[in-house]
């Protein structure tokens, strides 16, 4: 069984993550997930690849804090956060977040909160590689 919070190069399986989440409690009645994937355009330019870099030890610690806070704040039964740090192409998976709760409202709210907080708090940066050159993204829409 994989740990619920991970930073990894390799792709992840949403089915495996959801199965692991479900296995944590039979009281779970609602699971909300967010899958972030790579777009082939940004600010009107085509993007051929996106490269990620992380402050690994701090990023993992912040992601664990985020999960613990989300569980406490929304009364979740369990949650998982997986972020890839590698170079991806259009359509490739980047981040997966899952929130499991007794009912759907807490699952939706917890999932939304975790991805919004991740973008603000977790030290990961993306660089867009375009036909015109490379550029780090320094805002988080």
């Amino acid at each position: 069984m994989t740990t619920p919070v991970r930073i990894q190069q390799a792709d992840f399986s949403q089915d495996e993550e959801i199965a692991a989440l479900k296995a944590s409690s039979t009281r779970m009645g609602g699971i909300a997930t967010f899958l972030g994937c790579a777009r082939d355009f940004s600010d009107g330019r085509s993007v051929s690849e996106i490269s990620f870099e992380a402050y690994g030890s701090m990023a993992l610690a912040e992601m664990n804090k985020l999960r613990n806070e989300a569980i406490a704040r929304f009364g979740l039964l369990d949650a998982r956060i997986v972020h890839r740090v590698t170079t991806v192409q259009a359509g490739d998976n980047i981040v997966f977040i899952a929130a499991g709760a007794e009912h759907r409202a807490a699952a939706f709210d917890g999932c939304r909160w975790m991805i919004d907080e991740l973008k603000q708090r977790v030290p990961i940066w993306k660089k867009e590689i375009t036909p015109e050159g490379e550029a780090w993204v320094t805002q988080h829409p």
Binding site: Y55, K127, W136
Partner: protein, 79 residues
């Protein structure tokens, strides 16, 4: 020694990923930033977040000690 780490856009701008400074008594985050800025003018303009030992700090007067790890970071763009 105090280790200072740079990532992503800041590392590209400053053209290194790590620097070390002697842990003199009373040295602060602000002192370190001033020394780096003197060597690399403008290179830290995009720094929005500072961490000491993987914990974010707001106060640039935070005192540093031998063995501390400081990260000077641009706005995050993960997810």
């Amino acid at each position: 020694m105090i280790k200072v780490l740079f990532f992503g856009p800041v590392a590209d701008r400053i053209q290194t990923r790590e620097m070390s400074f002697e842990a003199t008594p009373g040295i602060t985050v602000s002192d370190i930033i001033a020394r780096i800025a003197a060597q690399h003018p403008g290179a830290l303009d995009m720094v929005s977040f500072i961490a000491v030992n993987q914990e974010q700090v707001q106060d640039r007067q935070t005192l540093l000690r031998d063995g501390d790890e400081v990260a000077l970071m641009a706005k995050f763009s993960g997810g």
